[in-house]
Symmetry: C2
Subunit: 629 residues, 2 copies
């Protein structure tokens, strides 16, 4: 009997309107475990090279992991993966909440979706069964309405719903998937893939307990976390990720004014403390997590009506819709956030797209004629909110920004591309490599394009969060590093940090709940995996799974024609920061090339091609990639 | 307060006749832990490039580890390292017994010896103090006599003595160091380095307990081993390593007749069972080990007087002095073994040298005139024993063989080199890569030249020892491999096996007591390290230390001019086995080159140069090597 998983993967062929169940066997679970790693295993095996991401042939995978649904803090996340319509590369996004655990409790370890339904549908999954149901009445509706409707139709408000929204239906290239209206698989446009398949939602309900091999062992891990987690003022429980607004601003690396600045005058107006003192209605959490970092904001005034059920903006959103657009109006940011969640759009790409348009506007590349009469200037909060909605509806100028800034800049022309800060076509998230060099490697080499959860942007090297967790000493990381360092020493730190974050994406673990940021030490996490599965495993094996994931993603992109030359930073990061504590700092171009080369070598990738060597494939038991790439 | 170590390394400058104590600090212990890794750290920092191995400038290091002296089964070993007079490359050899733990109990974590004493001396180390004492009266004496003399002089028979013998004094290039007359640091001529320094012995006595951070945790590990170790007929407790004679013979890979054959007609006459039924006096063990694989043989007849205190031949010796020379006379092998221990010669190199000479003799390259009248034919037991003694005394033809077969073949000329099976100048040990391909990589790439304990010669891939331990599943090794496989898949298995064996050489752990061959699982070993030191460590970190050791050794050799072209197999292994179960099998030359290339890549070494990339150095926190190599 398997523990931690059911040995059941749900397949749905939407063209045929059929579902089936696959039993992949123990070795697949042990080698890939779940999340990004499991998804890549199937994508590489089943997605034909060169598939149009918005065609029925794209393969869309939902994957929790072998520990999802057990009681470890932070273990609530699941991956959605497919070829990305934003980048054409590997697409992947994680979300927390309750949906992933519920899927496991419903008896499934993952879902593989192919084809395109002739009409709008949703998937209804419950206790080992699956059904494709009509969603014609739901099409075009906001996420809140759809959730209410499905709850009503199924007669159970405890059904957990992951869905895309109108933005996904309209194939906004950075449309997201959202569960419970607030937990987003944000990046790389997975919602557009869902929309392209006429699949509006996946509703799940389960009453099965995830089988655990060693209940006592698992409880011991949970107890450790409970006993060692203490809430402190300014920590994630108290202020959530919004706490970062002021910390990064003080460090001179709060992305501001489309990456010109690192310090934002209005930072305190969009800070975690400001949120707590004003619009915060309550705090929330994900499944089984004592950290409870989630925000719920609610208010109604003459401009906006913001409902608590859409959650509240995370740090990334406060920065992308806020400082990055020079908007210091917290209520407007909350309203923009709600619009994103109602329509299902990635708040990062949305904010970056708007800031890009604002800079074009300020430089005369765009005029009011182009922007449907909106004065799209930096700092114009109402304009920001209006543009969010236009993008979600692909209305007027919003239709252009809905394509992502790479395509939008092409369409706009007139040199607009110099204001479009993306990597591999994905908008850069709210971290500035000029002040934490780990993120230079992270962003440039991430298989999903500029991404903030594929690899660490080194807060835990900088001492930004000295209270929140353990050091990585048990990985042999014994000395701190300078956040501005770009020597090979930093490659070592990044290499190890990336192993940790890749692991979390393979086992559905939250970066904020687990070490080094959160209260779940790596040792405890490993013991928990062993207790749940009954495997005689080790951190060494877990990191091997993590590295497999990195290598498979690299292989995916290589097959789609991506090369070393796609591992770059937007030019602006090679130019000096224009204000703040790190004014004048930039990423030196030549040193960055050396940095990249050393990183490839550390990964066992050929520095000439950026592709893993045969020996690396052999070491990771991934030689089968030679047959599919 | 440090746990597991004293933060005290003894330095002895024999030229000056002075000792001193160094406190390297916690970071050195955590990064290198002990054994080969710690020794390499000091050698690379302090031994000048190009130093004549037999000159006073060579640095000789004795290094147990952070767990030596604690109660974990198998954790009794220590490393001796220096530049090898046999190979000119990195020299290293491990030994078990009681000497390593005693050194720790005497208050020292390692000894670094430099210079050359003007007259014979020995070191006397006791409870934090060290003394250089006169050994003029001991010079020229057999090991047993020296041990008795020092015990008498110090008035304590519990003093543990590691010494070289007359062979070391006479600079036999494969002279060994032996402790308690029976545990040998066998390979790479460390005894000759000791002899070259006029240092005959190191006597140690200590009454300090090694400080342990978590006594309960450490006891738990010990209890696990005790409770799970069950003796079985045919296992190491019952027959010791001599059990391998018949197992390998049946598998067709018992090295026989100077590597012509894989099956030996007389195997049952020199087997573990034969030993048990005839000459075995009793069994013995090393410090804290329940496996108790050690043999004591004792008998007296008209040919030989063999004393129990010299132990008994291990498998390697039974094969090298036995099957390899076609000698099936167990008593003669025991006598040869005792001579090796009395004079301090590596039994492997000794046996291989004699077999080499036998083949030269049979082919007319050598005659009785050359061999001091001895009929040096394959199978001539008396000739074998006589030659062992002649080598130990550098007497007559023995003086030539004492140089090692590479130099001896040069001296003999007439094409003798085709019978000289060495790698980097060191005689190949008693494992045949033609029937277990892991050893092809192991032998060819070992920094010490052909060596049987630097990396696994894959018994645990072949199921040779299914009872004795755990699989390596916790390293993610989930599937068995074919012992004859030479695909990249085998590189994966070898890579992982090498990490394990390298680790054991860094922490002084016995390959037969620890997983996968013995009763100490890797998980328990890791828990024990954590309990002893108080470090929050993991297998991941331990394997990082292991990999550091491999890379540092590679760097050592690179500095001394060794290149990729020194990673080869002797030609005979590319020719078919001439008899037995695997008759006709050989190592295909071209496939072997591919095999090597894939291995370099898996290690993160440049396949063009065989040298670690800068990225690999960065990943392992070994960038300092760039300054010294």
């Amino acid at each position: 009997m398997p523990f931690g998983y059911h040995n059941k993967i749900l397949r749905a062929d939407l063209t045929e309107g059929k579902t089936s169940i696959e039993e992949p066997g123990d070795l697949v679970y042990r080698k890939y475990m779940g999340g990004s790693s499991l998804a890549l295993y199937y994508l590489l095996a089943e997605l034909p090279k060169g598939t149009d991401p918005l065609s029925p042939d794209n393969v869309l995978i939902f994957a929790p992991s072998i520990i999802t649904g057990t009681q470890i803090a932070g273990g609530s996340r699941y991956t959605v993966a497919a070829r990305s319509p934003l980048t054409g590369a590997y697409g992947e996004a994680e979300a927390g909440g309750w949906w992933g655990p519920e899927l496991k409790r419903a008896g499934f370890d993952a879902i593989i979706i192919k084809g395109k339904s002739p009409k709008p549908v949703y998937l209804w999954i419950h206790d080992g069964e699956a059904e494709i149901r009509d969603a014609s009445q739901l099409w075009g509706k906001l996420t809140g309405e759809v959730q209410d409707a499905i709850h009503g139709e199924l007669g159970d408000t405890k059904v957990r719903i992951a869905q895309t929204g109108p933005a996904g239906e309209k194939l906004v290239r950075y449309a997201c998937i959202i569960n419970e209206l607030r937990h987003a698989n944000g990046r790389t446009g997975m919602g557009a893939v869902m929309g392209s398949k006429n699949l509006r939602a996946i509703a799940v309900r389960g009453t099965q307990k995830v089988p655990v091999a060693d209940e006592d062992g698992a409880k011991q891990a949970q107890r450790h976390v409970r006993e060692n987690h203490t809430k402190q003022p300014g920590d994630l429980s108290d202020l959530g990720t919004p706490r970062l607004v002021e910390i990064l601003n003080e460090s001179g690396i709060l992305p501001t004014r489309n990456f010109h600045d690192g310090e934002f005058d209005g930072a305190s107006n969009i800070s975690g403390k400001k949120m707590k003192d004003t619009v915060l209605a309550k705090t929330g959490t994900c499944y089984a997590c004592p950290v409870a970092c989630k925000r719920e904001v609610a208010f109604e005034d003459d401009r906006f009506k913001v409902e608590g059920r859409y959650g509240g903006p995370e740090y990334e959103t406060l920065a992308s819709l806020g400082s990055f657009c020079c908007v210091d109006d917290l209520k407007a940011v909350c309203a923009g956030h709600q619009l994103c969640n109602e329509h299902c759009m990635d708040t990062i790409s949305t904010g970056v797209a708007i800031a890009f348009a604002m800079e074009c506007y300020e430089n005369g590349i765009l005029t009011k004629e182009d922007t449907d009469g909106i004065e799209l200037a930096f700092g114009n909060a109402d304009a920001m909110v209006a543009m969010v909605e236009k993008i979600g509806k692909r209305e007027g100028f919003g239709d252009i920004l809905a394509e992502g800034i790479q395509r939008a800049a092409e369409k706009i022309g007139k040199g607009a591309e110099k204001y479009a800060h993306h990597i591999k076509g994905q908008e850069v998230p709210m971290h500035d490599p000029r002040g934490k060099t780990g993120s230079a490697l992270s962003f440039a080499t991430s298989p999903t394009g500029a991404d903030h959860v594929e690899a660490p942007h080194d807060p835990f090297y900088t001492g930004l969060n000295p209270k929140g967790g353990e050091p990585l000493s048990l990985m042999g990381m014994l000395e701190p590093a300078d956040p501005l360092d770009m020597s090979p020493k930093k490659v070592e730190l990044f290499y190890h940090g990336q192993l940790v974050w890749s692991l979390y994406n393979c086992i559905g673990m939250c970066n904020f709940a687990a070490a080094p940021l959160g209260p779940v030490p790596l040792r405890v996490l490993c013991d928990h995996v062993a207790a749940v599965t009954g495997w005689d495993t080790s951190l060494f094996e877990l990191f091997k799974v993590a590295e497999r994931s990195s290598v498979m993603a690299r292989a995916f992109n290589y097959r789609e024609g991506f090369t070393k030359s796609d591992d770059y930073l937007p030019k602006i990061l090679h130019r000096p920061l224009e204000n703040g504590k790190l004014k004048g700092h930039k990423i030196d171009t030549e040193r960055f090339q050396e940095f990249l080369k050393t990183y490839y070598e550390a990964m066992g990738w050929n520095p000439e091609t950026g592709y893993p060597t045969r020996g690396k494939l052999a070491q990771l038991d991934l030689l089968w990639l030679e047959d599919v790439v």
